[in-house]
């Protein structure tokens, strides 16, 4: 898919997508980014640099935590994990997002 067809993430949605991608288990930063892009059918483009401030924001809020480990090819990596609080937050944010998406869709629908 060419770059032109990709969409920048809406402000604030990155947090939700990170939480969602971590529900499948701990992952390092690069893998989180890939998971989001892959699951969106390569439509969403994560600005890679913005991933790290977002991860730290989530750590600070207690929604995710981190651990050090070695990855598949025996390299050091920092693994981010969803906390119980983060799981709860994911439910809240998902529901908010669905409400928002439905509302916007309703506004945009031809009368």
């Amino acid at each position: 898919m060419s770059t032109e067809d990709r969409l920048e993430l809406l402000q604030g949605t990155l947090d939700l997508l990170i939480l969602r991608s971590l529900r499948r288990g701990p992952a390092h930063g690069h893998a989180i980014m890939q998971a989001i892009e892959r699951r969106s059918g390569s439509v969403l483009r994560v600005e890679q640099g913005s991933l790290y401030p977002a991860l730290h924001r989530l750590i600070k809020r207690g929604w995710i935590t981190f651990e050090h480990g070695t990855s598949e090819n025996n390299r050091r990596a920092k693994y981010y994990t969803l906390t119980a609080k983060g799981l709860k937050q994911l439910a809240v944010e998902t529901s908010n997002w669905e409400k928002l998406a439905t509302a916007i869709a309703r506004v945009l629908r031809p009368a």
């Binding site: 390092h28 690069h30 890679q48 913005s50 790290y52 730290h56 651990e67 480990g69 050091r76 990596a77």
Partner: protein, 472 residues
Amino acid sequence: MMWRRGRALDDLDEDIREHLARETEENIARGMSPQEADAAARRAFGSVTRTKEDTRAIWVPIWADQLLLDVRYALRLVRRSPGFASLVVATLAVGIGLTTAVFSVVNAVLLRPLAYGAPSRLVWIVTYDDRVPIKSIEVVSAPDFVAFHDHASTLERVVAFFIGMERVTAKDGVVATRVATVSSDFWDLAGATPVLGRLPTTNEDAIVLSHAYFERVFNGDSSVVGRMVTIDDRQVLLAGVLPRTFRPQLPAPVAVSLPPGEVEAYHATAIQPPSPTDRSIRLFYVIARTKPGVNIAQVRSELETLRADVLRAYPRLASAPRLRVTPFADVLVGHARRPLWAMLLVKSLWRITAYPAGFDPEHVLTLKVQMSGQAYRTPERKRAYLAEVLQQASAVPGVLATGVSSDADSRLFLVRQDGPPMPILDRPIVRLNVTSAGYAATVGMRIVEGRWMTDDEPSPVYVINEALARGE
């Protein structure tokens, strides 16, 4: 395998490096050359510096807000009992892990206990004008000062002073010096006892140096004591040098823009009442020590009476109508707190120490050169002088690189050649720093792409930073 827990920020660099390495590997797997792959990974990531800054910024507010609260709390305490508050804030400041640099700022600005004897009896006296819509300067005129000094029975010592920058001629040239002009009671009030020489006698035109200044400018050469020095083209006796521990707090004038710093020389001045017809007037700050057992209301009431006499003697004097007398400790704390600049300074210092710079500040010495006068009128002369400076500097043993740069005070309007025409005011402005070939190596600047400039480019050459390259 999980093997360590730590603070979130500890390994941010490594985390980002790993991220870039993975992206590069995947790019290679997609068929790029290692070099292309690396460049593509960096492009996709964006500015690493910016990412680090943004990530660290997530964690900054906790500390900064906490510090602000602590300082506010401390300020309330300082007013009640200075000594105890210093201890508390010292403990808090150290406890929240501030650097020594920041702590010494707080210490110098806020916490140093009053350097004067009997500090609870010190008062700050100002006159001001409340009839004007803008805040008037709060000073005392020479006639008022002389009346207070000579006749106030509630006051034990009355000191007038003023702080300004003056040019002192030393062996190595002219040095801009922070000079406090002080009246005769100052020495006694501040408890000044010189380590070298003596104090000025009454009405003697003489200066006394702070110890740090004596060492820096006169290389600690005691033979200068007792000689004449030139201050602002006037010959003045260098009477003595004060001990290292002598650091009286003198609030800097608000109305005059002064570089920050401690007073470097004290200049004794005799303050005479002007002749009644003289319309020019000298203005001072005034600190006084009250007699024991006297309260501020009593001081105020006596000074008001004295001022009424002054007004009768100097009917043409444009005198400020109002008088205020406050405890001196309140003034010092107020000065530090008022515009919150101390806090901003602390914050920005904290940023300086917490954030990586775009260059390597370790082992870099700087020197500011200002060229003025006939000898440096042409650009050729200036260039020749700088070339000489650089050459001599690089000849010094241990010097690895030398470079020169302008003060980044020029601005350029940017126009995109492939972009639509833009009105001049909408064009982005960039700061321009003119530098020599050696500059990048000297300050340890990293060249991400391309090359640095040489000293003889056939046409103008520019090097831009990453932010500009991204088009921010």
